[in-house]
């Protein structure tokens, strides 16, 4: 390994700082004593917003809804993404290119397009907005990340593994279960995590596909325009970071181990 030049180090450090100073601010203002508008520096600090947040049933309900939506959207996206990757991998068929474009499209087009298209379709179809319409919106743009992770892993998987399994008399399902799935596990974890994260913090598509359900970002948005107890939104954002930190670290270790062992 070569040592990095000073310029490179400084640039990398600068970028990291750029990404984190606002988070530090977010952190600091979870403790401010001002409740409507923030000033710098904060007049004094308090921990009472944590208590307020903890006792707020709306927050708990919104958090619960967001977790459920993200989980279901993630599962749907993983299934759809894996199926598509399985079909596209090592097969050529008419419309293959078009399909891979369609998979990428919802994430490559601005969220507002996906949102407005689905909203008007849901209206035309005379469906009412519900938990499931939110899931449909989220899963649609999450498929891309699941698909990309799985297909990238499949490309690095030697076809001979599968041939060997088949030669040994395993059926399709057995081959999938015992040979392919272990190979894919780290890709599924990474893709799933990313899908979960995308869904969990999504506001734009949700605005269009939700009825009066409040996901956590929607709760935050409505609290930001209601200027009382504003630090509570910071507490919530902070709590989300802390809560997600552990699973990310675990997943990262897991996928690195899997990578090394393969």
């Amino acid at each position: 390994m070569r040592t990095a030049g000073l310029g490179l180090k400084a640039a990398a450090l600068g970028a990291i700082l750029y990404l984190h100073v606002p988070i530090a601010i977010l952190f600091l203002y979870a403790f401010t004593t001002e409740d409507a508008s923030f000033k710098f520096p904060p007049p004094s600090l308090t921990t009472r917003w944590f208590e307020v947040a903890w006792n707020n049933a709306d927050i708990r309900a919104a958090l619960g809804l967001s977790l459920r939506v993200a989980f279901v959207a993630m599962v749907v996206a993983l299934i759809l993404g894996t199926l598509t990757a399985g079909a596209v991998w090592r097969t050529r068929f008419f419309g293959r290119e078009a399909l891979s474009l369609f998979i990428v499209l919802p994430i490559a087009l601005p969220g507002i397009i996906t949102g407005i298209a689905l909203r008007s379709a849901i209206n035309l179809a005379d469906l009412s907005f519900s938990f499931w319409t939110i899931v449909i919106g989220h899963a649609t743009f999450c498929v891309a990340v699941a698909y990309n992770n799985v297909i990238a892993r499949l490309r690095r998987t030697s076809p001979s593994l599968i041939e060997a399994s088949m030669d040994l008399g395993a059926r399709g399902w057995q081959t999938f279960r015992h040979v392919l799935l272990p190979q894919l596990s780290s890709a599924l974890v990474t893709g799933g995590m990313l899908a979960f994260a995308l869904s969990f913090d999504e506001i734009i598509v949700t605005t269009f596909t939700a009825g009066n359900q409040q996901t956590l970002p929607i709760w935050i948005f409505s609290s930001l325009v209601r200027p009382r107890n504003r630090p509570v939104t910071n507490v919530v954002a902070l709590a989300v970071v802390v809560l997600t930190f552990v699973p990310i670290v675990v997943a990262q270790r897991f996928s690195r181990r899997a990578e090394e062992s393969s």
Binding site: S37, K39, N212, V225, R226, R230
Partner: protein
């Protein structure tokens, strides 16, 4: 999965034929309140329906829920237009707290139903000035129950104005130096909703009487063009247009905003946090809002909804809400003896200003039914043109 299947089937049909209208069987208003359903779903302005979660003293939901067994669900909306979009786009809402610029559109579009005031025992306690107000009464039929009202005041920084209240809206419409000697450019704000065109019309009505503006919501092409010109001039003075109350509060605190069209709500909060901000209604008068709780034509929970309509008029709720939102109760009895509002609360929030306010209503091309179609500039043009003005065109 059945839902998804039906979605796709419907979609295919939709693409081919583009759907039919929602069915609504309207047999006139309810005649008798029956058993409560399980809940009532309300589209409301942020802060309009509180259950004590933000501050324990401000709770006018828990008691209703205990009394009626109807759980209250709220969908907040940030603008009148959002409210209209929500109400027209869905059948899951029962009630909406619509301002005058939404209420007539909802009535015209057949989205809300006539309210049987006999089923609202508190109706007689409503401020007489509001009982037959044109923004919820059409052909003698009432399409809702007044909720709260208030003025769009001129908020100003007392330090920038040397302690004297500005007497004209010109401080935010014309380039000038403010009493502190600094120019107003970059230090004023305006509302980013298209209805703000009416504020320019209110200003022109008294500064340019030769234009003959009578109602700021009924503008002919010439008057409208002049109003847009006022707004274009204002564009060069405005740093940022405000969309939600919070952003404006921040801008008064941190951006050195000296004057802006605003709501009493922001002024109350800014004063409470010790900022040198006050508000006034200049000599030209002001626009204002008067909100009405209206019921969806297909309200899924009409019995709970009627009970909410009556509940929404009780003096305690009206007074607490007025204190919370900086608005004026539609029930005058609420002004007396409310702890949160205080003895002077109604006066502070503008109870006496009723006659100086041009209340928000939707501009229509037939001047709200008073002229032939095509005489007035309709609302959709306000939307497009105001967006263009903000974009610097």
């Amino acid at each position: 999965m059945r839902r998804i299947t039906s979605l796709v089937v419907a979609l295919v049909l939709a693409v081919a034929a583009c759907g039919g209208d929602g069915t609504s069987a309207e047999d006139g208003p309810l005649q008798e309140i029956g058993d409560s359903e399980d809940k009532v779903v309300i589209v409301a302005w942020a802060g309009y329906i509180e259950r004590g979660e933000t501050e324990a003293a401000y709770d006018w939901v828990t008691q209703y829920e205990a009394d009626t067994g109807c759980a209250v669900e709220v969908k907040t909306a940030g603008t009148s237009d959002e409210m209209v979009a929500l109400m027209t786009g869905s059948d899951e809402f029962d009630l909406v707290t619509a301002s005058g610029d939404a209420s007539l559109r909802l009535i015209a579009g057949g989205t809300v139903q006539e309210v049987n005031t006999d089923l609202v025992p508190s109706w007689n306690t409503v401020d007489e000035r509001l009982q037959d107000a044109p923004w919820h009464t059409v052909d003698g039929k009432h399409y809702g129950v007044p909720y709260q009202w208030g003025a769009n005041v001129l908020a100003y920084n007392t330090e920038a104005f040397g302690g004297n209240a500005p007497t004209s809206w010109n401080v935010i419409f014309e380039p000038m130096n403010l009493p502190d000697g600094e120019p107003n450019a970059g230090r004023v704000q305006a509302y980013d909703g298209p209805i703000y065109v009416a504020d320019a019309a209110v200003y022109l009505k008294s500064t340019r009487p030769e234009l003959g503006i009578e109602d700021p919501y009924q503008l002919n092409d010439e008057q409208y063009a002049e109003a847009l010109d006022v707004l274009r001039t204002q564009r060069s003075l405005v740093g940022r247009y405000w969309h939600d109350a919070f952003i404006q509060i921040d801008d008064f605190t941190n951006e050195g905003v000296a004057a802006s069209a605003s709501w009493p709500f922001q002024v109350n909060i800014l004063q409470a946090s010790g900022e040198p901000i006050a508000s006034t209604i200049p000599t030209e008068g002001a626009t204002g809002w008067a909100d009405t709780t209206m019921m969806h034509v297909n309200a899924p929970h009409p019995n709970c909804a009627y009970q909410w309509l009556d509940w929404s008029l009780n003096p305690k709720l009206q007074g607490d809400l007025a204190a919370w939102f900086g608005s004026v109760p539609s029930v005058p009895a609420a002004c007396d003896g409310n702890e949160l509002l205080g003895a002077e609360g109604c006066t502070t929030n503008g109870f006496e200003n009723f006659d100086r306010i041009s209340f928000w209503k939707t501009p229509t091309d037939d001047c709200n039914g008073t002229e032939a179609a095509g005489s007035c500039v309709p609302y959709y043009r306000w939307v497009t043109d105001y967006l263009a003005v903000i974009g610097g065109r």
